[in-house]
C-alpha cells in the first residue's frame, strides 16, 4: 500500500520546502518516493529539475541514498485537461471543453479548483504503483482547511443541475416565482450572451459530473485511509495557533489521521545561557578603536538577547502545539541555503520523521 503524506498549512510557511525535504528523508530511508510540489520557488524547482516539465515526475539525483526521489510540479491547466479527457464521454466533447474559454478559466480562476487539481494528481500518483511514498504540498490558501473541503465543493459546483433553474426557468413547471425572479436578475446582470455561453459550458461540464463524483469518492477513501498522514507546517515566526486548532478539529471530525506539526525556522536554544555568555565578554585588545569595539559588543549582546528570546518563544510554541494536538512537533532550524538547495534539503530532512 502506498503511503501518503499531505503537507498542509498557510502560505509562506515553508510547505513546499518541507515536502521536498520529507521526500529526501524517505529516499534516505530506502523508499521510492515522489513529491508533488506546488509553485516551488525558482531555486528549489531548479534543484529538483521540475522547472522544465510540469506535471511529469523527474528523477532527482541525491548523494548517498538507498531509495529514489522523483519530483513533479503541479500544472493545473494540464491537470484540468487530463481530468476532462478522463471523464468526458467522447473525445469530441473533451476537445470542445478544453477549447471553451469558461472551461479554460476553471483551472486558474475558480476558487478551490487548484485544490481539486491537486487531489486529482495525488490520486493518480498514489494509484500508479511506481512509488512507496507520495508526499504532496498543498496550494497556498487562507485556511489550511481549504485543502480538505474545496475539492468536493468544486466537484459539486461543476454539476449543471445545481444551476439548471437559472438557465432554463420557463421549461420546468415547478420553478417558483423566486427562481424565475432570480433567473431574470442573473440574465440582466450577466447579459444574454454570457448566460448562453455559460449555459453551454455548464451543459458540457455536466457530462463529467458522474466521473468526477466517482473519482471524488475514490479520492475521499484515499484521503481518509490510515495510510494517509496529515502534517501541518507552521512558521515559528507566526504560528497562527487559532488556525492550527481549527485545522485539527476539522481533521478529527473527519476521522483523518494527524501525524504532527513541523515548526519551520525554529530557533534552537543557545548551548550556554546568555548570562554565562555575557560574563565572558572579552576586553578590548590594544589598538582596537574604542567606539567600534563598543558598537560590536552591543551588537553581540543584542544578538544574544534576541536569540534567547526567540528560542524561548519557539520552545513555548512547540510545547503548546504538542499539547493542543496531542501529536509530535518537529522544530526545523533555519538552514543556510547558500550551499545549494539539495544540501539544504538534506539538512532539513535530518529534523524530519518518516511516517
Amino acid at each position: 500500500m502506498t503511503t501518503l503524506v499531505v503537507c498542509c498549512g498557510l502560505g509562506g510557511v515553508g510547505k513546499t520546502t518541507t515536502a521536498a525535504a520529507l521526500g529526501v528523508a524517505y529516499a534516505r530511508a530506502g523508499k521510492r518516493v515522489v513529491v508533488m510540489t506546488i509553485d516551488p520557488a525558482r531555486r528549489l524547482a531548479d534543484a529538483l529539475g521540475t522547472e522544465a516539465i510540469g506535471n511529469l515526475p523527474v528523477r532527482v539525483t541525491l548523494p548517498d541514498v538507498s531509495g529514489t526521489l522523483d519530483a513533479l510540479m503541479l500544472d493545473r491547466d494540464a491537470t484540468w485537461a487530463e481530468v476532462i479527457r478522463r471523464h468526458a464521454p467522447s473525445a469530441e466533447l473533451a476537445d470542445r471543453l478544453i477549447a471553451n474559454p469558461w472551461s479554460r478559466a476553471v483551472s486558474s480562476r475558480l476558487s478551490g479548483a487548484h485544490e481539486l487539481m491537486a487531489t486529482e494528481k495525488l490520486h493518480a500518483l498514489a494509484t500508479d504503483g511506481r512509488w512507496d511514498v507520495v508526499v504532496v504540498d498543498t496550494p497556498p490558501s487562507f485556511h489550511a482547511l481549504d485543502f480538505l473541503h474545496a475539492p468536493d465543493r468544486v466537484r459539486r459546483l461543476l454539476d449543471r443541475r445545481l444551476l439548471g433553474a437559472l438557465f432554463e426557468p420557463a421549461s420546468k413547471g415547478l420553478v417558483g416565482i423566486a427562481t424565475r425572479g432570480l433567473a431574470s436578475l442573473v440574465r440582466r446582470v450577466a447579459g444574454e450572451a454570457v448566460m448562453d455561453d455559460l449555459s453551454e459550458f455548464f451543459g458540457m461540464v455536466s457530462a463529467l459530473s458522474t466521473g468526477l463524483r466517482e473519482r471524488g469518492a475514490a479520492v475521499a477513501t484515499l484521503l481518509h485511509s490510515r495510510e494517509c498522514h496529515y502534517i501541518l507546517v507552521a512558521s515559528a515566526a507566526a504560528p497562527r495557533e487559532e488556525e492550527v486548532s481549527e485545522f485539527l478539529a476539522a481533521l478529527r471530525e473527519d476521522g483523518r489521521s494527524f501525524s504532527g506539526s513541523v515548526l519551520t525556522r525554529a530557533t534552537a536554544p543557545l548551548r550556554v545561557p546568555v548570562n554565562a555568555m555575557l560574563a565572558e565578554l572579552p576586553t578590548r585588545p590594544k589598538g582596537v578603536d574604542a567606539a567600534g569595539w563598543a558598537h560590536a559588543l552591543s551588537a553581540l549582546v543584542e544578538a544574544a538577547a534576541t536569540h534567547e528570546r526567540r528560542a524561548a518563544r519557539d520552545a513555548a510554541t512547540a510545547t503548546r502545539m504538542a499539547r493542543m494536538s496531542g501529536a509530535p512537533v518537529w522544530p526545523v532550524p533555519e538552514v543556510d541555503t547558500e550551499a545549494g538547495a539539495i544540501t539544504a534539503l538534506g539538512l532539513i530532512a535530518a529534523s524530519l520523521p518518516t511516517l
Binding site: 478559466a105 447579459g191 541555503t337
Partner: protein, 313 residues
C-alpha cells in the same frame, strides 16, 4: 505625497512576507500624513483588520484610527452594489442577491469573485455616487492566492472570457483603471533574503511589462546589521581565541550574525541591481525593521511617513 499621489496602492508579495502588516502600516502612515485613507481586503479577509485592532471586518467602512478606515469586500456584497449601480435595480432585489442559488452562481462562474470585487474597488475610487464616502488613498491587500501575478493579468483574462455584455465591460473598466500608473501604483513587499528578493524581482518585472515598475519595494523584517569592520573582526578573533564554552558559544553566535548579516547585505544588493534592470527610473526601496512586538507598528509607520508619504508614492 508626490510619491503617493496615486489613488490606489496595490500591495503584493509572496505569502507570509508581511503584506497585511504593511498594508495596515501604510494606512496609518497615510493618515498621519494628513490623507483620508482606507485599507481594503478581499474575499472577507481580515488580516489587516486584525493588525489594526478591529474585532470584526465589515463591508461597510469602519473607522480604525483618525483618518483611517477599513473595509473588506465579498463577492455577494459587490454583486448587490453592481446590480444597483449598473442596472438600477432597486434595493428590493437584495434578498435575491443574497439567496443561496445566487451564492452558488457566484461560486461556480470562474473569475466572477475577482471581477465583482475589483469592479467595486474601481467604482469606489473612480466613480463614487453622490453622497458616497470618498478617500484620498486606498490601500489594497492583494493576497497572493487566486488571481495571477499582477491582478492586471486577471482583469485581462476576465475580459477575454466574458467576450460581451456587462461583465466584459466591467473587466475593461477594471483593466484600464489598474493599468493607469497615474492612478494605481503597485507596492511589492519582500524580505532581505535571497529567495524572496528573487521572487520580488520576478514580480517587479512582470509588473513593468504589464503595467509600470512598482511604485515602491518594501523590504520587511530587516535585522540589525552585524558591523563589518576591524573592531568587529577583532571581537570575533578575541572570542575564538578563548577555550571557555561560553566564549565559544559567543564566537559561534558572532559567526552566525556575521553570516546572516552578509546574506542580508547581499540580498539588498541583488535587489538594487535587479531593480535597475527592471526600470531606468528609481524605485523607492524602503527597509523596515523586524519588530520585537509586531502589534506595535509605530517604528515602521514613522519610516513610511518619512520615506513615502512626505513629498510623496
Amino acid at each position: 505625497m508626490s510619491r503617493l499621489h496615486r489613488k490606489l496602492l496595490v500591495v503584493t508579495g509572496k505569502g507570509g512576507v508581511g503584506r497585511s502588516t504593511l498594508c495596515a502600516a501604510l494606512g496609518l502612515a497615510a493618515a498621519r500624513a494628513g490623507k483620508r485613507a482606507i485599507c481594503v481586503e478581499l474575499s472577507g479577509q481580515h488580516a489587516v483588520a486584525k493588525t489594526l485592532g478591529l474585532p470584526h471586518a465589515t463591508y461597510e467602512p469602519q473607522r480604525v484610527a483618525p483618518g483611517l478606515d477599513h473595509r473588506t469586500f465579498t463577492a455577494a456584497d459587490c454583486l448587490a452594489d453592481f446590480a444597483q449601480r449598473k442596472l438600477h435595480l432597486p434595493a428590493v432585489s437584495n434578498w435575491l442577491i443574497t439567496s443561496k442559488p445566487m451564492a452558488t452562481f457566484l461560486d461556480a462562474v470562474p473569475g466572477l469573485h475577482d471581477l465583482l470585487q475589483l469592479g467595486k474597488l474601481e467604482n469606489m475610487i473612480a466613480e463614487p455616487l453622490p453622497g458616497e464616502p470618498t478617500w484620498d488613498l486606498t490601500i489594497l491587500d492583494a493576497h497572493a492566492t487566486g488571481h495571477g501575478l499582477t491582478l492586471l493579468a486577471a482583469a485581462r483574462a476576465m475580459r477575454e472570457t466574458a467576450r460581451v455584455g456587462p461583465f466584459y465591460e466591467l473587466a475593461g473598466i477594471i483593466e484600464r483603471f489598474l493599468s493607469d500608473p497615474e492612478v494605481t501604483g503597485f507596492v511589492v513587499v519582500t524580505l532581505p533574503e535571497a529567495l524572496p528578493v528573487h521572487e520580488a524581482l520576478e514580480l517587479s518585472n512582470a509588473l513593468a511589462v504589464d503595467h509600470a515598475a512598482p511604485a515602491a519595494v518594501l523590504v520587511n523584517r530587516c535585522a540589525r546589521e552585524w558591523p563589518d569592520d576591524a573592531a568587529a573582526d577583532a571581537l570575533r578573533d578575541a572570542l575564538a581565541a578563548r577555550p571557555e564554552p561560553a566564549a565559544q558559544a559567543l564566537a559561534a553566535l558572532a559567526d552566525e550574525e556575521s553570516t546572516r548579516s552578509g546574506h542580508q547585505r547581499d540580498a539588498r544588493e541583488v535587489l538594487r541591481l535587479g531593480l535597475e534592470k527592471v526600470t531606468p527610473l528609481r524605485v523607492h526601496t524602503v527597509e523596515l525593521p523586524d519588530l520585537t512586538d509586531p502589534t506595535k507598528l509605530d517604528p515602521i509607520v514613522d519610516i513610511l511617513v518619512k520615506t513615502l508619504m512626505v513629498g510623496g508614492v
